[in-house]
Symmetry: C2
Subunit: 445 residues, 2 copies
């Protein structure tokens, strides 16, 4: 399912479009509340937003997948338990602190769920908690309990946009995607910009629908939808401890066509995944790697990931430098002889079948590079055309993104044909830039 | 074998010390030649240095290990064949172009070996070729053949320093380490700054000794020496296509104590490995991760590698930001439940045994972080003390290293105790900085 990329000429135009996508499906309400507090571990002023997504009636039809990190956050541990509950009535998300390995973290999340449940007339077990932000710090439970009534009072049934804005951390812009299914619809929002190589789940994504799809069918569909979307992207190889994708149906609109629903779900997931990459921390070029001819789809995806995670190739892309040798280098480190990387580990024989293209230009075939000054010039032009904005430090020496909307939909296009099987995959990633380092080193979190 | 780190107050002091280490063992001569040329693929002026290491008499006692990349360079393919030859008489190294997957690359390397052999009275099969630099470009064979007589004419028996300087690319300074063994000695040089996570071998390292050690013993010792040294470091996770470690004995000094020789070899390898990291591309903090209590040494090393390769943790270190949550995040992504990472994949149970220290300060125990404002302040001080130089862009916006010698020997010290076995390892790596991005994006290679 290729994603539908977006292209805007200004922030205002982008925000206007988001508003058109953000209409809530029937049966949902959204409210947020923002407040200041002082973290216990590093006492300096901070702000947090609570985003509350409530169903008019609790539903048995919900699904979620979570990070496979060995050290998941308390909300993820609780969320896994919630999957066994008969009904879900609300989702409560906070940013700023992710509540991972913090003392009494589970009790803190449960306390907030309990209060949210009281306000909504739900048992705490019908509230799914989610947190994102600094790892290791403790949630400011008192302040969150005090802010919850304001979030509940703000609930409205028109737009998901307040939640799309409320769940972000280092994101440059909110992410909303929607699809119609018969007379119903799916609307999804995503948070994610860094610490992002989902492993069987991803960042924070909430997908709401009014189309009635039974719980078990919904869960199977979600598992299938995340593989080619959220599980096929990487900003920085750093899988998060908080990744969560939740899908909730209010059941208001009968489902006439399950196939159409699944296709729409796949499209929304693919679109949000691309949004997340295009808005990745410091990303100035989106890199799309299409791998074909692998032993199977998993191997094709693994090879694509190796390339979008290779620091030297990512830096070359950032500099509009077609240093294509670094593509071979990245592939070579992934597939030492005797490794499980079947298509490449065979060595010279497989090398002779390998074909590489960048921007449609053949750069490798018959076991050797096919380079000349004309190709070099067209590769440079391809890289420049895919640049989202030019890199320039601010007067304080910090590099900040120059746009806070997606100015075009172009990618650095890498095509890899292994010719040793029928496995295919498309993986999205970004370059490695001064803006990424500034985001993660120049500011104290 | 802990490395002997170095500490200098100026470039001049460092260069003076290098000269004292650089005396050649008996039976070796070194000469270099530098020349300009125009690469075929990107026609703009470039310079190359040929470094020739010659034995007075060919020796059967030599060893080498090479990269495990699936796409090794032509010199690596030839080098593997050379291991079967009865004798080695010379090593010829060029920088600037690595001769990887270039059309007719093998013939190009063999042509250069043949000419070097003619000049030295050796068959071409007694010459070991090595190349480092841009991947995918072709060697300038004509220019190299024309420059070889000058390298041969420059051969001298006093110092290895010309070769240590001749083999570098983006290195800030040459690397020479030596050890005495009875009345003989071992001297080693290394090239390496980026594209550096050796896999069963490493960058370019040449170890020369006059101590007589038989070929098979030498080879076994080299295999053992590289594991805790070159195979326990990573600058950027990008394993090179050209990694080579060669060890050659002229046999001039009888070996009285094989154990002492092996210990000296291990020390020189550990020292050069630390030099390589401290001089890594953009490295402003060396990170030393000591892992204990793993199932075995391989698992301990793998966990150390995960941490020194985690972009977000590396950025935090660059910014003197003790964002220790990113340590847990990196460990968590490596060990999803059910993975082969035994010590951590067990989840909550293993988490309760985990202890983490940074700069000697306990930051994690009993399953949760142990953080407070006082610890935060001492972690910041530890990070600042380990900084090699302050980051500052030049007037052209490019970040360049502010020192070209090792100004101190301090590391960011991470201690991880898994308490689930007896496997231990120490891994060295660096931070992720603006200087790394500038080196690999702001300049065209």
């Amino acid at each position: 399912m290729p994603s539908t990329a977006l292209c805007f000429s200004s922030r205002a135009e982008h925000r206007q479009w988001l508003a058109t996508q953000a209409a809530l499906p029937a049966g949902f309400r959204v409210g947020t509340a923002r407040f200041g507090f002082t973290p216990r571990e590093v006492p300096k002023p901070a702000e947090m937003t609570l985003s509350l997504i409530a169903l008019d009636e609790p539903t048995p039809d919900f699904a979620a997948v979570f990070t496979r990190s060995a050290f998941p956050g308390a909300p993820v541990l609780i969320g896994r338990d919630r999957l066994a509950e008969p009904q879900l009535g609300a989702i409560l998300v906070n940013n700023k602190i992710s509540n991972v390995c913090a003392p009494d973290g589970r009790a803190a999340s449960e306390a907030v769920c309990t209060r949210a449940g009281e306000l909504l007339g739900l048992p705490s077990t019908a509230v799914l908690p989610s947190s994102t932000g600094v790892i290791g710090w403790s949630l400011p439970v008192e302040e969150m309990l005090a802010a919850l009534p304001a979030a509940a009072a703000a609930l409205q049934a028109e737009s998901i946009l307040p939640a799309a804005e409320g769940i972000v951390t280092t994101d440059l812009y909110p992410k909303v995607r929607a699809a119609a299914v018969g007379s119903g619809r799916i609307v999804g929002i995503a948070k994610g910009a860094g610490m992002l190589e989902p492993n069987l789940a991803t960042m924070l994504v909430y997908l709401l629908t009014d189309v009635a799809v039974p719980r078990e069918v919904l869960r199977a569909m979600l598992r299938r939808a995340v593989e080619p979307s959220f599980n096929s992207i990487s900003i920085d190889s750093d899988t998060s401890t908080s990744d969560t994708v939740a899908l909730v149906s209010s059941g208001r609109v009968p489902c006439a066509d399950l196939g159409a629903f699944e296709a729409a779900l796949a499209q929304v997931c693919a679109d949000l995944a691309e949004d997340v990459v295009r808005n990745g921390e410091g990303v100035r070029h989106v890199i799309r790697v299409a791998v074909g001819g692998a032993a199977n789809a998993a191997e094709a995806r693994a090879l694509g990931k190796v390339i979008v995670n290779a620091p030297l190739f990512k830096c070359a892309v950032a500099g509009n430098d077609p240093n294509v040798g670094r593509l071979i280098q990245a592939m070579g480190k992934w597939a030492p002889p005797g490794s499980s990387a079947g298509a490449l580990a065979a060595g010279a024989e497989s090398l002779s079948r390998l074909r590489l293209k960048m921007g449609g230009v053949e750069i490798f075939s018959n076991g050797v590079f096919q380079l000349d000054p004309q190709k070099e010039a067209s590769l440079v032009a391809h890289l420049k055309s895919a640049e989202l904005y030019e890199s320039r430090p601010s007067t304080d020496g910090v590099y900040r993104a120059a746009v806070d909307y997606p100015p075009h939909e172009r990618c650095v296009e890498i095509e890899i044909e292994l010719s040793s099987g029928s496995g295919r995959a498309v993986v999205l990633g970004g370059d490695l830039t001064h803006e990424y380092v500034s985001e993660n080193a120049d500011y104290r979190s």
